[in-house]
């Protein structure tokens, strides 16, 4: 999926995460800030990378401020951010699992 514009998703509220995704020509750069980075940093990154992989996103910058979000919230937020950045409104549900 091609990112066309900068997009935001999520909030800074507890149990949520805030994502800023910016298109670029460089390979994916994922910056994760989290109060639980030490414990869950790897897991969060793995989830984010998996979602991006399913959506075919290979370039761009993602800044993620995690506030202790569950795995399902991370998936939903990353997908929402990518859809918004791609200007895509019809969802391919098979790719979203």
């Amino acid at each position: 999926m091609l990112l066309k514009q900068e997009a935001l998703a999520g909030t800074l509220e507890s149990s949520d995460l805030f994502i800023r995704i910016t298109p670029s020509d460089d390979p994916l750069e994922i910056v994760i800030e989290s109060e639980v980075l030490h414990q869950f940093g790897k897991q969060i990154r793995a989830t984010v990378e998996e979602v991006l992989d399913h959506l075919g996103v290979t370039t761009g910058t993602l800044i993620i401020q995690d506030k202790g979000a569950l795995d399902c919230t991370i998936r939903a937020r990353v997908q929402a951010a990518v859809m918004r950045a791609a200007g895509e409104t019809t969802l391919d549900w098979e790719a979203l699992k």
Binding site: E13, L70, C72, T73, A76, A80, T89, W93, L96
Partner: protein, 291 residues
């Protein structure tokens, strides 16, 4: 038989609420994609709900999704998210006619086939929010075999009636009409939200009223009201003892292959037994009523 005393509204756009609402143990959660979600967040809320539905956290709780009406740009996408996510029930807002239910039913079936979900496994629930909805309540309640309940929504209804919320007089006809429709169609019936979060006494008074009318329960936005509601619906020791005797008599009659149930020399009808089983279910769910 499923208990439907409490249906807790959870804003579909709130990650925090979606991750925690199960702790309040409502009988049903209603993930809301409609009024609680701003236009900006419709897309994101749909995804949050889609993933939250697949969480094991809500096992044992009926998972309802309130979609946007199908004639909005959001309704059909909401439906995809709900059915593919595994929602038990779709709540259709602003139901005025049985045709709306049939349209929803057809759309649900298409998606079930597309995603390989068992056809018919998604239940429907219609919210009645207008004078026409109340007048058409029976036709709505009988519009589809998938319908398991109807709910009265007070806010839009009183506006449509050109009045406002007050002591309940303004809802009297609607409550009775919707409830009769539900009972005639053999489905469940939910009462309106009680929105003054601080007025516990008023809430309990309203619960007492709707319980006596015969509602299965209420829609709620405040999780603190769940325990109060469940307690109000819990049986007393007396009711419980009586229900036990009824059920025991019914089981005995069944074992002996008798067509007639008798207790203390008196004959008991089927509805009495059903009612007794409901009492035992409520007791099992939240114990005896605490005064």
């Amino acid at each position: 038989m499923r208990l439907r005393r409490s249906m807790l509204f959870v804003p579909g756009s709130s990650a925090a609420s979606l991750s925690t609402a199960f702790v309040f143990k409502p009988d049903s959660v209603m993930f809301d994609l409609e009024d609680a979600v701003s236009l900006r967040e419709k897309d994101a809320a749909r995804l949050l709900v889609f993933h939250a539905l697949q969480q094991p956290l809500y096992d044992g709780i009926e998972r309802v999704v309130r979609i946007n009406p199908l004639d909005t740009p959001f309704g059909h996408d909401d439906l995809q998210a709900a059915i593919r996510g595994g929602a038990d029930t779709i709540r259709l807002p602003k139901t005025d006619t049985p045709e709306q239910v049939r349209e929803l039913e057809a759309a649900v079936e298409r998606i079930e086939r597309d995603c390989g979900r068992e056809v018919g496994s998604t239940h429907l629930m219609a919210a009645i929010e207008s004078a026409s909805g109340v007048v058409n309540a029976l036709a709505i309640a009988q519009a589809s075999p998938r319908i398991t309940g109807i709910a009265l929504a007070g806010f839009d209804y009183v506006m449509d009636m050109q009045t406002q919320r007050g002591d309940g007089t303004e809802l009297f006809y609607a409550r009775c009409a919707v409830l009769h429709a539900a009972r005639a169609a053999k489905i469940d019936c939910y009462d309106v939200v009680f929105s003054d979060l601080d007025d516990e006494e008023g809430f309990l008074k309203e619960v007492d009223l709707i319980k006596r009318l015969g509602f299965n329960g209420k829609s709620l936005i405040n999780p603190r009201q769940i325990e109060l509601l469940h307690n109000a619906y819990a049986p007393t020791q007396e009711e419980m003892d009586y229900a036990r005797r009824v059920v025991a008599a019914a089981e005995k009659a069944e074992k002996q292959g008798l067509g007639v149930i008798a207790m203390g020399g008196k004959m008991i009808d089927g509805p009495v037994v059903d009612n007794a089983r409901r009492v035992l279910d409520r007791a099992a769910a939240s114990g005896l009523r605490k005064e």
